[in-house]
C-alpha cells in the first residue's frame, strides 16, 4: 500500500558543483558525474546508495528556503572526563574537528518549515566525530524537544551516528536517557515525533531517541543496528549475511514504519505533517 497523496513536487537539487567533476560511489564504486550526483541528492543512480549528507545539505533539501532558524548554535563540545589517549587529548581533537567541519557539535537543531508547516528539527552530521552523541549534542537534542513541547510543534530528528562518544565517557552514555526523557514528554503531551534514520544509525543513538518515533522512517539501505557488525561476528564466530542491519531488514523485523527514498522524503514528511496539522 505504501503511501499516497494527491500531489508530489520534485525536491530542489543540491547547490551547483564546485571543483570536482566526478564522484566515486562509496558503495558500488561507479563513477558518477558530480552534477548528476548532486541533482540526484547524493543518491547513487547506479545502486541507489544514499550517501551521507552534511547537516546543512539535509536542511537544504528538507526545509523550505530560508525558513531555518538555528537554536543554541553556541553549544559546543565539553570535556567532562578530560579524556586523552597517548596521541591526542580529546579537547584538541574536538577543536580540530570543529575547525575542519565548521560545526560545534554533531547535531544542528532549530525551527523551520516543511511546505509551510512549522517544525522543530535536529539534524545529525556524521562528519563531526562520527555523529557521536556528545554531551553538547544530547543537550541540543533535548532543548529542541523542549522547544517542540512548549510550542506544540512536531519534532523531526534526522539521525546519523556511530553511537555514544567514548571520549566523554559516562557523560555521553547518560545522553541516552536524557534525550529519551525529552521524547517521553512529547509522547505524553501528544506532540508528534518523527525519527528519520539515515546511514548509519547505530549504538547509543539507535538505542535511544532514534528508535522511539511515532514514526520511524529510514532511508533505503541505511545501516541501522545496536551492536557493530565486527563485534557480532566475533561473538558468534561467523560472518553475517548481506542485508543484516539494513533499513530493509529493520522494516521486515517490525522496527521501521516506512523506507522513503531521499527524493520523496520531503513530500512524505509534508504528508504526515499535513495529517497532523489539520486537527
Amino acid at each position: 500500500m505504501g503511501w499516497f497523496t494527491k500531489s508530489k513536487k520534485p525536491v530542489e537539487a543540491l547547490p551547483p558543483p564546485e571543483e570536482e567533476l566526478w564522484i566515486v560511489c562509496s558503495s558500488c564504486k561507479a563513477h558518477i558525474f558530480k552534477q548528476e550526483w548532486d541533482k540526484n541528492l547524493q543518491v547513487c543512480p547506479k545502486c541507489n546508495f544514499h550517501e551521507k549528507l552534511t547537516c546543512y545539505e539535509r536542511i537544504h533539501i528538507t526545509l523550505d528556503e530560508k525558513t531555518f532558524r538555528e537554536f543554541n548554535a553556541e553549544i559546543s563540545t565539553s570535556d567532562p572526563i578530560q579524556f586523552s589517549d597517548a596521541a591526542e587529548a580529546y579537547k584538541d581533537k574536538a577543536e580540530a574537528t570543529k575547525t575542519k567541519v565548521g560545526l560545534k557539535e554533531s547535531v544542528v537543531t532549530g525551527s523551520g518549515k516543511i511546505k509551510d508547516i512549522t517544525v522543530t528539527v535536529a539534524v545529525m552530521d556524521f562528519r563531526f566525530l562520527g555523529g557521536s552523541l556528545g554531551s553538547g549534542a544530547g543537550e541540543k537534542i533535548l532543548l529542541a524537544a523542549d522547544y517542540a513541547l512548549r510550542h506544540s510543534r512536531p519534532y523531526i530528528v534526522f539521525s546519523a551516528s556511530g553511537g555514544a562518544r567514548m571520549h566523554e565517557g559516562i557523560i555521553s552514555l547518560m545522553q541516552m536517557p536524557k534525550t529519551c526523557a525529552g521524547i517521553a514528554r512529547l509522547h505524553r503531551a501528544g506532540i508528534p515525533y518523527i525519527s528519520v534514520l539515515t546511514h548509519p544509525t547505530t549504538g547509543g543513538v539507535s538505542a535511544s531517541y532514534a528508535m522511539v518515533g511515532d514514526l520511524n522512517i529510514a532511508e533505503p539501505g541505511a545501516l541501522i543496528g545496536f551492536a557493530g557488525r565486527r563485534v557480532i561476528e566475533q561473538t558468534i564466530k561467523q560472518e553475517l549475511p548481506n542485508g543484516f542491519q539494513t533499513a530493509e531488514y529493520l522494516l521486515e523485523h517490525g522496527f521501521v514504519d516506512q523506507i522513503v527514498h531521499r527524493k520523496d522524503m520531503k513530500d512524505f514528511l509534508a504528508s504526515v505533517l499535513r495529517y497532523w496539522q489539520r486537527r
Binding site: A86, I170, M174, C180, R185, G203, G204, A207, F255
Partner: protein, 312 residues
C-alpha cells in the same frame, strides 16, 4: 580466583586458615595469633584497596566471587517471588525480576543475572540481556506502576548481548523504549550498580531517581578492552583505557552521575558478602524511605531535571 594485587592478602588468609586448622581444639591456643593476623589483614586490605588503580577496580568489579543479584535478594528479602517472561516472545534468563519484600518495603526488583560458575553463566548468558530481558523488566516496572510500588534495579552486566538474534528482535528498540518509559514511570526507581555497569546494556534498566554504586563497581560507556582496541588497536592497553574512561564509583560520584557510593568491606565485596549486602540494604532502605513519601508528580519532575542536567 586470585587477583595479582591481592597476593599479600591471600597469603595472610592462608596462614589464618592453617592456624585455624591446627587449632581444632575449642581452647584455641592460636587465638591471639589469629586475631593479630586478622588485624594485619584488615589493615593491609584497606591499604591495598585505597590505592587500587582503575584497572584493578575493573578486576574487582568482575570478580567471580562478588555477590550477585541472587545473593542480595537472598540476604535482604524476607520474601521473593520470581516472575518470568516478557509476555511477548520469551523469558530471558539473563534478567531476573519479581516481587520482593525488603524490611518494611514491598518493591518490584529487576536486574542482571550472572552465574556462580561456568555452567550457570552459560545458562544466564553471563548477565548479557537479550531484548526479551529488557521487555520483561519493562513489564515488571509497569506492574510496579500499577501497584505504586518502588522499583529496585540491580546492574551487573558486561553489556547487552551482541548477537544476531538480539539485533533481529530489536536490542536497540528494547533499550530505547525502556529509557523512554522509565523516564516517566509513575513510581520511584532506585538503581544499584553492584558490579559491571556495561554501557547501553546497563542503562537499559538503569534510569532512576537515585543511582547507587558499590565502591568497587564500575560503570562505563564502553569496556576498557573495547576502548583500547579502538584507540590503540590493542586490547592489552585496557589498563590505560580504564584510567582514561573514569569508570570507578568515585569518578561517577564526582561527575554527579551517581548519588552515593556504598562502601565495601576491606578487601572488597567478594571477601565478605554479608557485610556488603548489609551495607547495600542500609543504603537502599534509607533511600526508599525518602522516595516512597515523595509525591509522584514531584518525583517524576525531579527525575527529568536530574537527567537533563547531566552534561549541561
Amino acid at each position: 580466583m586470585e587477583l595479582d594485587f591481592e597476593k599479600p592478602l591471600v597469603e595472610i588468609e592462608k596462614k589464618i586458615g592453617e592456624l585455624e586448622k591446627s587449632a581444632q581444639a575449642p581452647d584455641a591456643q592460636f587465638g591471639p595469633e589469629i586475631a593479630e593476623l586478622e588485624r594485619k589483614k584488615t589493615e593491609l586490605a584497606k591499604e591495598i584497596y585505597a590505592k587500587l588503580t582503575p584497572w584493578q577496580i575493573v578486576q574487582v568489579a568482575r570478580h567471580p566471587d562478588r555477590p550477585l543479584m541472587v545473593d542480595y535478594l537472598g540476604g535482604m528479602c524476607s520474601q521473593f517471588i520470581e516472575l518470568h517472561g516478557d509476555r511477548c516472545f520469551g523469558d530471558d534468563p539473563g534478567v531476573l525480576g519479581g516481587l520482593a519484600t525488603f524490611g518494611d518495603y514491598r518493591v518490584v526488583v529487576i536486574g542482571h543475572r550472572k552465574g556462580k560458575n561456568v555452567e550457570e553463566n552459560v545458562k544466564f548468558n553471563f548477565g548479557m540481556a537479550n531484548p526479551e530481558g529488557y521487555r520483561k523488566a519493562l513489564r515488571l516496572m509497569r506492574l510496579a506502576e500499577k501497584y505504586r510500588l518502588p522499583v529496585v534495579s540491580f546492574i551487573d552486566t558486561p553489556g547487552a548481548y551482541p548477537g544476531p538474534e538480539a539485533e533481529a528482535r530489536g536490542q536497540a528498540e528494547a533499550i530505547a523504549r525502556n529509557l523512554t518509559e522509565m523516564s516517566l514511570l509513575q513510581t520511584p526507581i532506585v538503581v544499584v550498580v553492584t558490579g559491571e555497569g556495561g554501557s547501553g546494556g546497563a542503562i537499559g534498566i538503569g534510569v532512576g531517581d537515585v543511582v547507587l554504586m558499590l565502591a568497587n563497581s564500575i560503570y562505563s560507556v564502553i569496556s576498557p578492552e573495547g576502548c583500547a582496541s579502538i584507540l590503540w588497536r590493542d586490547g592489552a592497553k585496557a589498563p590505560e583505557a580504564a584510567a582514561a574512561l573514569r569508570l570507578t564509583a568515585r569518578d561517577l560520584l564526582e561527575l554527579d552521575v551517581v548519588d552515593e557510593v556504598i562502601p565495601e568491606p576491606p578487601g572488597g565485596a567478594h571477601r565478605n558478602h554479608e557485610e556488603t549486602i548489609s551495607a547495600t540494604q542500609k543504603s537502599l532502605l534509607k533511600h526508599l524511605k525518602k522516595l516512597v513519601h515523595a509525591s509522584t508528580k514531584k518525583l517524576v519532575a525531579a527525575r527529568y531535571e536530574k537527567y537533563s542536567r547531566i552534561g549541561r
